[in-house]
Amino acid sequence: MGDRIMNVILIGASLAMLVVGKADPQFMEGVRSNISDVAAPILETLARPISNAEKVISEIGTISEIRAENESLRGENERLLQWQSAARKLEIENRQLKGLLNFAPGAEPGFITAGIIADTGGSFVRSILANAGSRNGVKKGNAVITSDGLVGRVQGVGRRSSRILLITDLNSRIPVVIESTRTRAIMAGDNSERPKLIHLPPGATVSPGDRVVTSGHGGAFPPGIQIGIVTTVDEKGIFLQPFVHRERIEFVRIVDYGLKGILDADSAAEGAGVSR
């Protein structure tokens, strides 16, 4: 009999948590952050040997490919040097034009580098856990990027850990533009690998191969962070392939674009692929 009462209490408590979570997401997110904080050191310790083992295995695998890779890197380096000189010219030109316009530069973003300590999988949500939290200056809503592009945004912050909602998550909605045509859209995650573009203006044309970047509308992200490339356009919708591959994320930059703090903005910009 006591067991039965206990079961009813526990089921009731579970349902109550669901209701509270719906009514007051902030509160439950706080609870989640606290639990994640406790688990963070354990996860960090456990993740280390695994990533070491992976490194050894991948190193053995790559030795044979080094020659070919070297060759392609040489070519890439040459190309990049050309780009560099182009960028230098543009930078100078940009500075001169800014001088002509009396342009006042906006606040430079501050960023925090964090390691990924948990990739809590499953088919229901798309989020990862980073080992930096409020004590490192992470704030809710911060943009999370890698050198490839946008990863997602900070959903919950604990003291030493933070949860990152990936752009592929069901609840992710990000204002974007097609880079070439400046067509605005909303990128909506649907838990699949390929987020969808929705709410396009009528008559807009999008074709596979178009690059998609953040638009900066809504104030969540600055404009110009690269996201991905449109892969398919059909009656089911417009889908894009993000540049960031979830399984390759080891470290991320958590960027607070709303901050007045002045940090190494150049590297943040080049890392984010921010076109300014």
């Binding site: 526990l10 979570g21 996860l43 456990l46 948990a118 690998e193 994320i249």
Partner: protein, 171 residues
């Protein structure tokens, strides 16, 4: 054996291992594997452990412990709080109600039992999360995760079985 004074302590330590192991399985599941697409279909290890202990040693994994494990699972995976607690409790209670059926049955029967219980658990999770978010979270991923979970059941069960026979005091 240990001296008379340490023995009760030793017994307690052994008796809490089903809970500790299941807790560790939840944490281990969260470690990044960096295998492409794996994280979406990774087996739900705690589900198997709760099924296992509910059949063989429900005395060592009572309902409140199952509830607590659900909270940890939700916290780490990112599912709404309450979902995993409800699902884990449902698995626990269904298995308990079938105690007579499971007693002395072969592994194949236990596995088939798991195929049904876990299917119900996945569907239940999907329904709860979809209602909570107000939209479907996608069924294809759930289906693959179910298959992977079902496929890895014998391996984990074997480990739990060995632990149960070697380390746990017999009833």
């Amino acid at each position: 054996m240990k001296s008379g004074f340490l023995q009760p302590l030793d017994l307690v330590a052994r008796n809490i291992t089903p809970f500790i192991i299941t807790m560790l399985l939840i944490i281990i599941s969260a470690i990044p594997t960096r295998i492409p697409e794996f994280s979406y279909i990774a087996p739900v290890l705690p589900l198997m452990a709760i099924y296992h202990w509910s059949i063989y040693r429900p005395d060592l994994l009572p309902a409140w412990a199952v509830f607590a494990l659900g909270i940890l699972q939700d916290a780490l995976v990112g599912t709404p709080f309450g979902v995993s607690s409800l699902v884990f409790l449902a698995v626990h209670l269904v298995v308990l109600s079938q105690q007579v059926f499971f007693t002395g049955k072969s592994f194949a029967v236990v596995w088939i039992g798991f195929s049904m219980v876990s299917a119900a658990a996945f569907i239940m999770t999907w329904i709860l999360v979809s209602i909570y978010f107000g939209q479907s979270t996608g069924l294809l991923g759930v289906f693959f995760q179910y298959l992977v979970t079902l496929g890895s059941f014998p391996v984990l069960t074997w480990i739990l079985m060995v632990w149960q026979q070697k380390m746990l005091p017999q009833e």
